[in-house]
Amino acid sequence: MVSFSAVAKRYPGGHEALKDVSFTIEPGELVFLTGRSGAGKSTVLKLIPAIERPSAGSVLVNGQNVASLKRAAIPYLRRNIGLVFQDQKLLYDRSVYDNVMLPLAFSDHPPKEAARRARAALDKVGLLERERANPIQLSGGEQQRVAIARAVVNRPSLLLADEPTANLDAESAARILDIFAAFHQVGVTVLLSSHDQALIGRYGRRVLTLDAGRLAA
């Protein structure tokens, strides 16, 4: 599903975020990515949907080398990947429902089907009854669940989440992780980053640990 081989990423200014990173995630896997702040977790997650391009090495997603992908092809790559950001990136000028509808605006679904999918996604994260609310009225955990609903509304085969539990209390964090686990159960490949070792430990899944840009054994 996702395969990094000898990936390096050097940012303008010389900071080396990743050095010689190689790993493979099989379809249907749930993998955690961990490490201290600045270890390169976010960079790994940004390379997969081509938000960043690697300085060296190749990043394969579904057999496609993202590193050499043309600019015009990137949107279509991203439509097959559900992205959850640490800061949610919700739009506060519209309702929860309209936030979840955003990716459907440029999909080919007829309006009725789009509305049905948006409600189904909100139902899965337990926020169907809050669809008319503005995200600002929701708690941090609820906002993160809206972001997840938006990420899965196009039914991607790959779900990426960058520190989805970073600013949440333990109970909300556990609930978020349970939602990701539920998507994994129905066959979605999931890659989550978190620096919370204890929380990760509970799931007993494969963990990739980054240390100063290198993958620890």
Partner: protein
């Protein structure tokens, strides 16, 4: 409805929803200036233009002139586009129709007017014609006709310059409006692109907004001109009636009004295009 059409319809709706009435007014009032001038020139032209702008030469004959010989000679000259003979009796009749003149003519007691030929020809011929036997006097009306034509050309050129300037103004207003809209919707643009929106999808509503803004401005301009002409015409018609004329200022023909709408829409699109090229070079 297929998804391509649906997305365009959606973008067009967004464009209309974001229309700033104030901006449309600014553009419309600015465009009304050259448009109104153009409409005035167009409606004045049929009144005096067609005849007055071609140069005329009048040949007045000496009393003993042999009119038939002269006429044959003029007809043979290919440089003369058209000619008309006005016998002195007819000239007198025409003159007596002018208010106040019949008394003068009666006082004279006899017809003081000579026979005349009215020619349509280049004024350069005047001198040569004056030397023909039987020609007493030549009058070339070309001078004032040339002046009128030159004045009309200057007015038209002025309007084109003004129109060009204000068209550039329209592009600038749209450019700035779209720039501000891009800034306002920066987050939405960024997020949309992160989750798979194409560049075309992101730009589309802004293009529609530019077109809608331009066309709304064009519509306002047409409205301003129409209302102004309507107001002017009430006075103009009264004035014209006192001269026994039913002259009135004409509105723009429908095709030209539609061309104005299409043109302003195009300018709005251009403004949006320039703005998006400048402000939407996002990754």
């Amino acid at each position: 409805m297929n998804s391509w059409l649906r997305q365009h319809a959606q973008a067009a709706r967004t464009g209309v929803r974001r229309l700033s009435v104030l901006n449309a007014l600014v553009i419309g009032i600015a465009l009304a200036l050259p448009l109104g001038g153009y409409t005035l020139i167009q409606s004045l032209r049929p009144a005096g233009g067609a005849v007055a702008l071609e140069s005329r030469i009048t040949l007045f004959l000496a009393p003993q002139a042999r009119q038939a010989d002269l006429e044959a000679r003029l007809r043979a000259d290919r440089r003369i586009a058209a000619m008309r003979f006005i016998p002195r009796e007819e000239a007198l009749k025409e003159m007596s129709r002018v208010q106040g003149l019949p008394e003068v003519i009666r006082a004279l007691g006899r017809n003081p007017l000579p026979d005349a030929f009215v020619l349509s020809a280049s004024p350069e011929l005047a001198e040569e014609l004056a030397r023909l036997p039987g020609v007493a006097h030549v009058q070339a009306d070309a001078v004032w006709a040339r002046r009128l034509a030159a004045a009309a050309r200057i007015a038209r050129l002025g309007l084109w310059l003004l129109g060009g300037l204000l068209a550039a103004g329209l592009v600038a207003v749209t450019f700035n409006t779209i720039r501000l809209q891009v800034l306002t919707h920066r987050e939405e643009i960024e997020i949309s692109k992160l989750i798979g929106a194409t560049d075309a999808f992101v730009r589309r509503p802004f293009y529609y907004q530019g077109i809608v803004l331009g066309m709304a401005g064009g519509l306002v301009a047409l409205g301003v001109v129409a209302v102004s002409l309507w107001l002017l015409n009430r006075e103009v018609q009264e004035l014209a009636r006192s001269y026994g004329s039913n002259f009135r200022l004409g509105y723009l023909p429908m095709t030209e009004a539609l061309a104005v709408l299409a043109g302003s829409g195009l300018l709005g699109w251009a403004g949006a295009h320039l703005s998006l090229r400048r402000h939407l070079l996002v990754s």
